[in-house]
Subunit: 329 residues, 2 copies
C-alpha cells in the first residue's frame, strides 16, 4: 500500500497476550492497513521481550517503514503495569515480575516505546477508534476471565488514591453468592465473568435441564465457555437464554450504580467475553431501560446509548495499543 | 473577643434551612467564635432573602465587623443550586424556583456572596475543618431524608456529564425492595435514609416484636424517627439493634462499591440522620471489615479509617457554608 516510510500519522500498536502477539499499523481514520500475529515465547522474560520486538520488527520491515519516521510504538501488556516508569509489575500470563519492559523494548527496537496495561489500552482504543470516539468521560468495563473498569475523566485515566479506582469486579453484587478468586462471595466477577457465565449455565444443565450445551458435559476436551453460551442463546436455547437473562439483570444493577456514581458520557463493555456478547448486552439494556422507566433520577442519567458494546471486536487489543501513541485528540 | 474588624482569615458561613438560618464566624483553626440562629421566613422568595440577609447583618453587627474587611460570605442553600451563576434553581423547603439568590443577597448585604447546595457545602466543610481535613480525594455521603454523595477529586467537585455524579441513593440495592420516591424499588435511599430506618423498625414492631419504641406507635404526635431508633439501640433495644445491623450491612455493600469505584482517601458520612448515628456507623464498619477480611482486592482499598462519621456534628451546615469562602488549601 505504501512503498516507503510511515505516513505522518500512522500508528503502530502491539497487543501482547500470553500465547499470541498481534501487531498492526492503524491509519488516522482508524483502519488497520497491515497486521501480523506471532506466538509469544514465555520461556523467560528476555525471550518474551525478544518475541515482542521481533514481531514489531517484522511488521516494520514488511511495510518498508523507515525507523527514523517512527515516532513511537504502543504496547498493550497483560497484568499490572506501571506505565510512567515503563515497568511490567506482574503478569501471570507472561510469567514475569518487575520487568523493565519499556527499556528492554527500546533497546531492541531503537525507537520510543509506550507501554500500558492492556485493559487501559483497550479503553483508549475505544475513545480514539471505537464506541466512545471523541468522548472524554467514559467508563470501559472489561469482561473476561476477570471484570474491571477503566475510567477516563476529561480524557485522562482516573486511577484513585491506590491505583484501584474501577475495581468494581470485587464489589459484592449477590450477598453470600459464589466464591470469587479474591476470596469474597458474590462479587460481580464471581457472577458475571466469562467463567461465571459458563458455570451458571452448567449448573442448570446439571440440575437436569435440556440444552444444546449438554454435550459439553460429556466431552471434557470441550469445556463449556461463555462464548458457547452466547452461541446457544442465538440458537434459541432456553437454558442459555435464561442464564444470560439472569446475569444481564445482575450486571444491569452494577452498571446502574456505576452510571450514577460517575455520570459518564458512555460506558463501553469490552473484553474477551463479549466478542459474541450481543445476546448479553441486549439483556443488560432491557433491564437498564426498565430501571430508567421506574426511576426519574436514573432516567436523567440513562439513555439507550449510555451502555454500548465495544465496536472494535477482536481487534480491540491492537487498536488499544495503537491509541497509546495516537496524537492528542 | 474582637472589638473591631474581621481578623484576616475569619470566615462567615450562613446555613439556610427551611425553618432555621444559622450564621457563624469561624476562625482559621476551625473554631466557631460567634454564632446565631434565626427563623426562616418562607412566605415569599423576597422575604426569605430578607431573613437570610438580616441574620448575616446581625452577626456582623454583634461582632463589630467593618463591612470593608469582609472578603465574602458563604451560604449553604437547600435544593438544586447553580453555584457558578448564583441561582437557586429549585428548593422544596424554601418554596422557590430559579431565584437569583446571589444577586439578591449581594444587593442586600453589599459584599461578595458565594452560594452552593448545602450538601456540597457540607463536603467542603469536612475537607476544611472536619473528618477529611487536608484530604483532596473524598466522597461525602449525605444521609438525611434522601441519600446522595458529593465527590471531591483533587480538591474540586466532580459533577459528571449531567451534574448527577454521586446520585447513588437511587441505585437499586435490594431488587424489588421498598418503593423509593424516585419511582424505583429498593434504591439505597429507600432502604437506608432516615425515613427508611424508621420504617424498618416500625415494621418489626408492627409484626409484634417488643421494643422500647412501641409507644411511638400509639402517640401519633411522636412519629418514629431514625434518631429514636439510634437512641433505642444505645439503650440495648433489640429491635433497634437488629434494624441497624440489617441497614448497616446493606449500606456496607453500597459503600464497598463506592470505595472500589473511586478509591478515595476517605468516605465521610454526614447529614441530619447521622448526628446520633454512631450505632449505625459501627455496624457499617463491622461489615466493611468483614468484606475486607474476605477479599484481598477490597483489602487493598479498605482501612478502618476509610469510612468516617462527620466530625462536625450539628455545626456541619455552618462549617460547610464558611468553607465555601475559605482560602484555598
Amino acid at each position: 500500500m505504501r512503498s516507503s516510510g510511515l505516513a505522518q500519522k500512522q500508528m503502530i500498536g502491539i497487543d501482547v497476550g500470553g500465547t499470541k502477539i498481534a501487531a498492526c499499523l492503524v491509519d488516522p481514520q482508524g483502519r488497520i492497513t497491515s497486521s501480523i500475529r506471532r506466538s509469544t515465547d514465555v520461556t523467560s522474560p528476555d525471550a518474551t521481550l525478544d518475541s515482542i520486538a521481533s514481531t514489531a520488527k517484522e511488521l516494520i520491515a514488511m511495510n518498508n517503514i523507515d525507523h527514523h519516521r517512527i515516532d513511537a510504538i504502543g504496547f498493550g501488556i497483560p497484568g499490572l503495569v506501571d506505565s510512567a516508569k515503563g515497568i511490567g509489575i506482574a503478569s501471570v500470563n507472561l510469567n514475569w515480575e518487575n520487568i523493565p519492559v519499556r527499556a528492554g523494548l527500546e533497546a531492541r527496537l531503537g525507537v520510543r516505546c509506550v507501554i500500558d496495561n492492556d485493559v487501559r489500552a483497550g479503553a483508549m482504543g475505544e475513545t480514539y477508534f471505537g464506541a466512545a470516539k471523541g468522548l472524554r468521560n467514559m467508563v470501559y468495563l472489561n469482561i473476561g476471565t476477570g471484570i474491571s473498569a477503566v475510567i477516563l475523566l476529561d480524557g485522562k485515566f482516573f486511577m484513585g488514591v491506590n491505583g484501584l479506582a474501577g475495581e468494581i469486579g470485587h464489589a459484592v453484587l449477590v450477598p453470600d453468592g459464589p466464591l470469587c478468586k479474591c476470596g469474597g462471595r458474590g462479587c460481580l466477577e464471581a457472577v458475571a465473568s466469562g467463567p461465571a457465565i459458563a458455570a451458571r449455565a452448567l449448573e442448570k444443565i446439571r440440575s437436569g435441564r435440556d440444552s444444546v450445551l449438554s454435550n459439553q458435559l460429556t466431552d471434557s476436551s470441550l469445556p463449556l465457555t461463555a462464548e458457547k453460551v452466547f452461541e446457544a442463546a442465538v440458537l434459541g436455547d432456553q437454558v442459555a437464554n435464561e442464564t444470560l437473562a439472569e446475569i444481564g439483570t445482575l450486571m444491569a444493577y452494577s452498571l446502574q450504580y456505576l452510571a450514577l456514581a460517575y455520570d459518564p458520557d458512555v460506558i463501553v463493555i469490552g473484553g474477551g467475553v463479549v466478542q459474541g456478547g450481543s445476546p448479553l448486552i441486549i439483556r443488560i439494556q432491557e433491564k437498564l431501560q426498565q430501571l430508567a422507566n421506574d426511576s426519574w433520577v436514573f432516567r436523567k442519567v440513562y439513555t439507550k446509548d449510555l451502555v454500548k458494546l465495544s465496536s472494535l471486536g477482536s481487534d480491540a487489543g491492537v487498536f488499544g495499543a495503537a491509541a497509546l501513541v495516537a496524537p492528542q485528540i
